[in-house]
């Protein structure tokens, strides 16, 4: 199993596919984060004092998936979150050793 972490632009969340039987995504967890990469942030000026806001709002999405769906899911994300502009974000794939569904205590592929 794999644990997919995606960092995307905030207003690109809506096009990201939500779980359906077909698209291999069983569940998805999102959170608000801030990021700094090639896209550098901006500055805000308050009464003459300039503050560097180095971090821009991003959205982090996390999905535990079956490894067979890896390519499919990664390209679903890149496909829908990409705008071709700087700051589009990244997708990272981490190994996932085990998973448990709290409600039923099912484990492994049943649990994601």
């Amino acid at each position: 199993m794999k644990y997919i972490i995606g960092i995307i632009k905030p207003h690109r969340l809506d096009p990201v596919p939500t779980p359906t039987a077909e698209n291999g995504i069983e569940g998805i967890t999102v959170s608000e984060v801030k990021g700094h990469g090639r896209q550098k942030g901006h500055s805000e000026i308050y009464r003459g004092a300039e503050y560097q806001v180095s971090f821009l709002p991003k959205v982090k999405i996390e999905m535990a998936i079956d490894e067979t769906r890896e390519d499919e899911v990664v390209s679903a994300i890149t496909g829908s979150a990409g705008t071709g502009k700087i700051g589009d974000g990244k997708v990272f794939v981490l190994p996932l050793e085990s998973a448990v569904r709290i409600r039923t205590c099912e484990t492994g592929k049943q649990a994601i």
Binding site: E44, I45, Y46, R47, G48, A49, Y51, Q52, V53
Partner: protein, 434 residues
């Protein structure tokens, strides 16, 4: 005899100067309560209270970092409570009683605990209880304004001790000088609603606080950006609305003087906000919301001494100039000298107050307030205004400095470095915004 009426009729007395010949006559006429004037003064009192809580509390509270928002708001609220009691105990007496041989400097303690204020005691055409409470709200907002200078670092306990002593030793006497029959009023200083007494006074005290306390931890490295300007806009709006009570209420009547004071207050405020906005738009490419509301507050400050003396066109000019000067005060001046006046108590109230006091001497029209200004050929008025400014700055700065040094020695002024980094909300009040 005139003296007594004088001392009692407060700022009306100032206007009285211009119509001195008539003074004894209205004095008699005034001995009857006027329900219309009383209604307006009751309302004005509520409006000025609203300026501090929630107005100023929010204006300041929105500009600090999130970890200090409750502590900042608490300062205005606690000051409201403490000043109320101290004004009743001694402040009103010092400011507005007849101080006998020392009357040029203070009013003495003969009216401590308001012992001379019966239910039916009148002050002009309104109950003395109303005049006393109206003035109380001025004694509340003045030390509350100072808190902008030492925001995000002063100990709550030291802040309370400082504010309490300051209102008695600095605010009440200066009020007496200008409105209570003291030497500045006698000299003919024009200060309709408190440009000198409230704003220059608080601004200068704030500057001294900023210098004595030193800079906030991390200033220059970390972002000190306002955490929620929505709060500040609510605050600025309520300050604006409440300021009608402050300025038009300073006519102590619902009359032509009050009406004109309201009109010019509105015009100068709007002009100052637009002036700041345009300058910032040109220089920094974007008109900021903080700029808009700061300009408005700057305009309100500047028109305060002028509001009973200028006409609409004068107010328009005054506002446009004041917006520009306050912009400079809150951006360039501060950086030039490098003090950390966190929320620009001096940059806006001090600078705007001085500008307003001088411009009152420039734009005053005899048809409005009975005194001509520079533009009507009375250059001397600007000098008289200067006298008021200098006396206030000198006294306020020196006594504030001494007070802070003593309090600092006895109990310290700042929270510890760790507490400051972690935030005042939890460390000073044990609470957080969840």
């Amino acid at each position: 005899m005139l003296k007594r009426i004088w001392a009692h009729s407060g700022r009306v007395g100032i206007l009285g100067l211009a119509t001195m010949a008539l003074a004894s006559q209205p004095a008699l006429a005034a001995d009857k309560l006027d329900t219309g004037n009383t209604a307006w003064m009751l309302t004005s009192t509520a409006l000025v209270l609203m300026m501090t809580i929630p107005g100023l509390a929010l204006f300041y509270g929105g500009m600090v970092r999130k970890k200090n928002v409750l502590a900042t708001i608490a300062q205005s609220f606690a000051i409201t409570c403490l000043m109320t009691v101290l004004w009743m105990v001694a402040g009103y007496s010092i400011a507005f009683s007849d101080g006998g041989s020392l009357n040029s400097f203070w009013g003495g303690l003969s009216n401590a605990f308001l012992v001379n204020m019966g239910k039916d005691t009148l002050n002009g055409s309104i109950p003395d209880s109303v005049f006393m409470t109206f003035q109380m709200t001025f004694a509340i907002i003045t030390p509350a304004l100072i808190t902008g200078a030492f925001a995000e670092r002063m100990k709550f306990s030291s802040m309370m001790v400082f504010s309490g002593l300051w209102v008695i030793i600095v605010y009440a006497p200066i009020t007496h000088w200008v409105w209570g029959g003291g030497f500045l009023g006698e000299a003919g200083v024009l200060d309709f609603a408190g440009g000198t007494v409230v704003h220059i006074n608080a601004g200068v005290a704030g500057l001294v606080c900023a210098l004595v306390l030193g800079k906030r931890e991390g200033l220059g490295n970390e972002s000190m950006a306002p955490h929620n300007l929505v709060l500040s806009v609510i605050g600025a709006s309520l300050l604006w609305v409440g300021w009608f009570g402050f300025n038009a209420g300073s006519a102590v009547a619902a009359d032509e003087s009050a009406g004109m004071a309201m009109a010019v207050t509105q015009i100068a405020t709007a002009a100052a906000a637009l002036s700041w906005m345009v300058i910032e738009w040109v220089l920094k490419k974007k008109p900021s919301v903080l700029g808009l509301i700061s300009g408005a507050v700057g305009g309100l400050v500047a028109v305060t001494p002028a509001s009973g003396f200028v006409d609409p066109s004068g107010a328009l000019m005054l506002g446009l100039i004041a917006g520009a000067i306050c912009y400079w005060g809150a951006t360039s001046l501060k950086n030039m000298f490098g003090y950390d006046d966190s929320l620009d108590a001096f940059g806006i109230h001090g600078v705007g107050g001085i500008a307003g006091a001088l411009l009152t001497g420039v734009f005053a029209k005899s048809a409005i307030g009975g005194t001509a200004g520079l533009l009507e050929g009375n250059a001397g008025q600007v000098l008289i205004q200067l006298e008021g400014i200098v006396a206030t700055i000198a006294y306020s700065a020196i006594v504030t400095f001494v007070l802070l040094k003593i309090i600092g020695a006895v109990m310290g002024l700042r929270v510890s470095r760790e507490e400051e980094i972690e935030g005042l909300d939890y460390n000073e009040h044990g609470e957080t915004v969840h």
